[in-house]
Amino acid sequence: MAVYHILVSHFPIALWLTAYLFIALRTFSDAQIIVSLEKSIWPLILLGSLAGAIAYIIGLQIYPWSAITQSPLGRNHIMLATWTLSYWTVMGILGFKLRRHLFEGAQKWIAFTLGSIGALVVVITGTLGGSLTGTPSLVTKSLSYVGWNVYTTFYIPTWMLAVFVLGAIVLVVLGFAGRRYKN
């Protein structure tokens, strides 16, 4: 299954990163041709999510769950793949619901920031997959320079888990509180 996972994984990577390219172009340009690309962003993202879901499912078939979750690199790849898939799916839904509004005024910088985070997560997920199959890249090494050795499991301490849950609640509350205002 490993070869099929590798094969299929390149589709969501290409689709999501193309979407990010369009987001970046739209952020910095109002040219007509760039504006027309805007409409293809959310379909690209959601197509990527579909392909990503398939790659994710195939990926989970490569090793027994008990084995892959004993490997720090395996755990990290699963975590990053889960983040990537969920993150871009949320981005796709936002793109579908908000369309051109995402790029209105200063909001385009929000779109650009979120897209940049998504692109970064895609790149890290891919490089972890490469490391898992025995072909680590410079990205793998670079991550250790900024504080994360990918051969150790990425987990956060219990108190930070609580902060995450609290943060999630605060974000939802802020959303409902803020939407009362028109601008």
């Binding site: 027994p64 008990s66 084995a67 979750t69 004993q70 490997s71 720090p72 395996g74 755990r75 975590m79 889960t82 983040w83 969920s86 993150y87 949320v90 839904i93 936002l94 619901k97 908000l98 509004h101 995402l102 209105e104 005024g105 200063a106 909001q107 929000i110 920031t113 979120l114 985070i117 898992l132 025995g134 994360w148 050795n149 051969y151 150790t152 499991t153 990425f154 987990y155 956060i156 301490p157 219990t158 930070m160 888990l161 902060v163 995450f164 849950v165 943060g167 999630a168 609640i169 605060v170 974000l171 939802v172 802020l174 959303g175 509180a177 803020g178 939407r179 205002y181 028109k182 601008n183």
Partner: protein
């Protein structure tokens, strides 16, 4: 106002990501001596090796960093009328009561997989000092997989006749050892093996226990006339105030029978090991002279006959021959599994290999060749059973295909993996919780953005 909410939300989201990055990998990997868990501060180090031989003998020279040499192993300390044993425990000994060591495993190709996986193949079922190992009883030492009917069951040792056949076929690993306390002062090494157990070769080893069980007292003490003392001082032992010029060890030359009538005082200290001349096959590995620690490094040389005449105990070296080695060093007063090990490396006697032994003429090697640097790493608690089980190791299929460990893993990587295995259950749970919490955060951020993005009229 809505934009302010949005900006604050994005700042919170980004802040949480940064906080997660900064705090990750904390809160779990905590030393737990009760469960035999201690993680060394340094996970890797370097051993330097040279090898030379002539028509009779083969010499290995080892050099590795040690901040403070540990000249003692366990000692007997007099306190209020009793002699009490003081020794190191889990991890490094605060009192420096674990000796420094270097050991070398040797195979000539007779042990399948040793050249690919080195010492990993000797780490069997719940060995002594592993978390969860049975307490009490005999030490559960390293062993080779084929000496068991079930390699993952320590107690399933094959019948003596089967073990004899394996030994005749060369299915054992030669094990040389040097100990800073229990062999070095008298210029000896220690010749052993790993097969159905890790043990010494036939004969007499370089030390025995200085304790009279019946009389509950040491058997020997220092000879006042030779050493100027009957005992050492415990505070000086702990402080490292004894050096190579002092008579800090017991041997025929420095010891006499223990005299209980001496007015012993609290803190008087006698080594718990009596050193002696070796006999038989166990005495094959010796030193040209007692080794010394200098400028932060042990510099140790061991020598053995190429052909000891003990083929059932030793791997016989031949001119132009190729062999496989794996090393371990013990440093900073740590013992048992708190050591640094190497991956297997090839040795060639004047033939191409990772470590080439050069032939010399004359009385002793000149050591003109460069050092071969060997990366050493803390191995954690990784057993052969775990590595070969597809349910616990994603690379088990690669081992089945005989892919060498060095092809897929670096020493640093193996050290990190070894540490993670020591906390496997706790890390797995925390990882799952992190996964769910981060998913929650992503969804919450999506809801937030959807609610706060301003939609201008067309």
């Amino acid at each position: 106002m809505r934009r302010t909410y949005l900006a604050v939300s994005v700042a919170i989201f980004a802040g949480l990501l940064v906080a997660a990055w900064v705090t990750h990998d904390t809160g779990i990997k905590i030393n737990d001596p009760e469960n035999n868990i201690f993680i060394p501060t340094e996970l890797t180090t370097t051993l330097q090796v040279k090898a030379s031989y002539d028509n009779e003998n083969i010499y290995f020279r080892y050099r590795w960093p040690v901040v403070r040499p540990s000249l003692f192993h366990d000692v007997l300390v007099y306190r209020d009328g009793n002699w009490e044993r003081e020794k190191g425990g889990v991890g490094p000994s605060e009192n420096f009561l674990n000796e420094d060591r270097v050991s070398m495993m040797i195979d000539d190709g007779s042990v399948p997989l040793f050249s690919r996986y080195g010492g990993y193949i000797t780490i069997g079922d719940r060995l002594t000092t592993f978390t969860g190992a049975p307490k009490g009883g005999d030490e559960r030492t390293k062993y080779l997989p084929d000496t068991r009917t079930d390699p993952n069951n320590f107690d399933s040792v094959k019948a003596e006749s089967d073990l004899d056949i394996l030994r005749e076929a060369g299915y054992f690993i030669d094990l040389w050892q040097w100990r800073s306390s229990r062999s070095n002062p008298v210029g000896l090494g220690d010749d052993g093996f790993v097969a159905e157990e890790r043990s010494g070769d036939q004969g007499v080893g370089p030390y025995y226990t200085n304790w009279d069980k019946e009389l509950n007292q040491p058997k020997f003490m220092f000879d006042q006339q030779v050493t100027g003392q009957n005992a050492l001082n415990f505070d000086d032992v702990v402080a490292g105030n004894y050096n190579f010029d002092d008579a800090y060890y017991l041997s025929d030359a420095t010891a006499i029978a223990f005299d209980p009538n001496i007015e012993w005082k609290n803190g008087d200290t006698i080594p718990r090991r009596m050193l002696r001349a070796e006999e038989g096959s166990r005495g094959d590995v010796v030193q040209p002279s007692a080794s010394r620690w200098e400028d932060g490094y042990w510099d140790v040389t061991l020598v053995r006959q190429l052909d000891t005449g003990n083929p059932l105990d030793d791997k016989i070296f031949r001119d132009k021959g190729s062999y496989d080695l794996a090393f371990a060093v013990f440093r900073n007063a740590s013992t048992m599994r708190w050591h640094y090990v190497s991956l297997p490396m090839s040795l060639g006697l004047e033939t191409d290999a990772q470590l080439v032994a050069s032939k010399f003429a004359g009385d002793a090697p000149g050591w003109e060749q460069d050092w071969t640097e060997v990366k050493m790493f803390y191995p954690g608690q990784v057993s052969w059973g775990r590595l070969t089980d597809p349910k616990t190791h994603p690379g088990a299929d690669k081992i089945a295909e005989r892919v060498p460990v060095a092809y897929r893993h670096s020493e640093k990587q193996l050290a990190l993996y070894g540490v993670e295995v020591e906390f496997a259950g706790a890390i797995y749970n925390q990882w799952l919780l992190t996964l769910f919490a981060s998913l929650l955060l992503i969804v919450a951020m999506g809801i937030n953005i959807n609610l706060l993005i301003t939609r201008r009229e067309s």
